[in-house]
Amino acid sequence: MKSDSSLSTIVKALEEVGAFVEEVRDSEVYFRVTRENVKAAARALYSLGAYLKTCAGVDERELSGLFAVYYIFGLDDHGVDAVLRVLVPQDDPWTVSVVPDVPAADWCELEVRDLLGIDFRGRLTKRLVLPEDWPEGVYPLRKEFKYDEKPPRVLREELSEEVGIPVGPYHPALHEPEYFELYVEGERVVDVAYRGFHVHRGIEKLAESQRFTYKQVPFLAERICGICGFVHSSCYVMAVEKAAGIVVPERAEFIRSIVLEVERLHSHLLWLGVAAHLLGYDAGFMHAWRIREQVMVLAEYLTGSRKTYGINLIGGVRKDINTEKIDKVLKTITDLRKEFTELVKAMLAVPQIKSRASGTGVLTKAEARALSVVGPVARASGLYRDVRKDYPYLAYKRVSFKVPLYTEGDNLARLLVRVDEVFESIEIIKQLIDMLPGGSVVVEEYDIPSGRRAVAAIEAPRGEDVHFIITGVGRPYRWRVRAPTYQNIPALRAMLRGTPLADAPLTIASIDPCFSCTDRVTVLDVRSGRKSFIRLKQGV
């Protein structure tokens, strides 16, 4: 949603509610607010066209004696982030929630409450991120908690409700443990409950510990997600380089962009195969992954490993690219384009695929804006939002490409957005290779002062990935990661309402949740009160 407000209008509106400018950096403006006026400030920003990227809680008692909650808003038209900082005293840890005005802040506030113990007034709260058997009153992100402490297990009544379910979401074609509960009336879904965070490993706390230094965190970041790992690793080094003011050689920026686009190709082909499989079209699944295999071989040839590439360093990259590698890149993407065009034509020619995907899982533009969805989900609902265009980073300032936009907001629109993005990626890679500059690929000498803050964002295949960093001595002081799926899953409630049960798996898969997680769904018939467990193949 484009707004006409200029930057000074925005600053004035915030100053009117009592905020003042704390710090101005190249692409972020930090405002200090109090817990009395944070809600008004958030409402002012949101109504002026900003959207919420994430919020992060920080234990700043070593620096200033207080806790801090940062709300990071993005202003697309100006390419600038507006960050609201609320300070919370440690003997009275509560603040006012902004969720009534900005619904997108729902999950990140619950996460701050779980990990730091700051209460949010004005909304319902529940446990979100920590395991069910975690004791109350133990907050992992507080500095006195050691990263390898193992508090004793506390059994709760909720666990006993699960008796009889052989462990949730483990399914033949999938792979991330998540758990959905669909409430149906007859054949239509009326509501959905979600329990996730089975994969919480304590990565943010680990990066702050003695075991890790700035140089080793890129390897940790790469393993946050096995499909879009390079995005996380690049976003982390970009945030540190921004905070410390390190200038990366141009050749390194181009190499990072080329590998990012190669990753986008593999991720979209993977998704297309999984979507075809969920629709029952296994031939499409096999062909899509056959085409994808050449992209994996290319990635191994460029970086040394099929996945979890490990080539990012602070200040550049580890591996250079020579003419042989460039020839291989060009050959692979030329073959890919031919085969992919044929495959998409063959898939969409099957009448059942088109008819099942259109009209189901609709997300309207207003809902998409309120929940601040990102990536192909937003672009399929009419929101023209792409980090590569709005906040240009790395080598994207130098290439020209189109951003696909559809307005229907259904499953077919999300499929077509991803198909178009594959073709755009191929064009971007060609341009990047043409313009590849010479020079070194890494700066060896640099200095990282402590106490600096920065926000970096990259367009992952699934959407916008945001990293917020506060530098410390030798390792980050605080590192907050907001992956794109985190922002998109709350939109599922709106999408699934009214959908026929048979289309629910495809809808859940269409947001590309870092793996489609519907395998095992519990179906509760609201009218008869009968509970039954169906497996994906049966339901489809």
Partner: protein, 166 residues
Amino acid sequence: MSSVNIAKALRAIKKSVWVYHLNSGSCNACDIEVLDALTPYFDVERFGIKLVGSPRHADVILFTGPVTRESLPKVVKTIKAMPRPRLILVLGSCGVGGGIWWDTYSTLGGFKKLEEILRENGVEVDRVVYVPGCPVRPEAIIYGMLLLLGLVEQKSKRVEVVASEG
């Protein structure tokens, strides 16, 4: 406890192994390589391997992930649902040694620690093969499976050398 004749079981399933994939909190890279093994370039179906939808039908469980605290009770229940003999193929650096996050507050530290908890709960595991990798190559998964079935020789050996002048 009834004695389980592993050799007899392996002879019976050698040409057609039914596997169940169990993710205990991994990043998914190993899991998509498991899926990749089914696709045309590697095609594990030539060995008769197929994925099944329930642990009760499985001969072998493909285990990934460092066993996060949230998924622990559910993993125990799944392995309990598997009929004897329980053959498990542990994939990836997370499962074998706990991975890059082997000692955080939210992970258990890999399959070895899980085996102790399984034994406390009365769940016996009959044969385990560890496959290192980050992520595991599809070929490494095939090699691990062939080792589990007893069709290839193991190459890794414990090595201890005293440093001396070359």
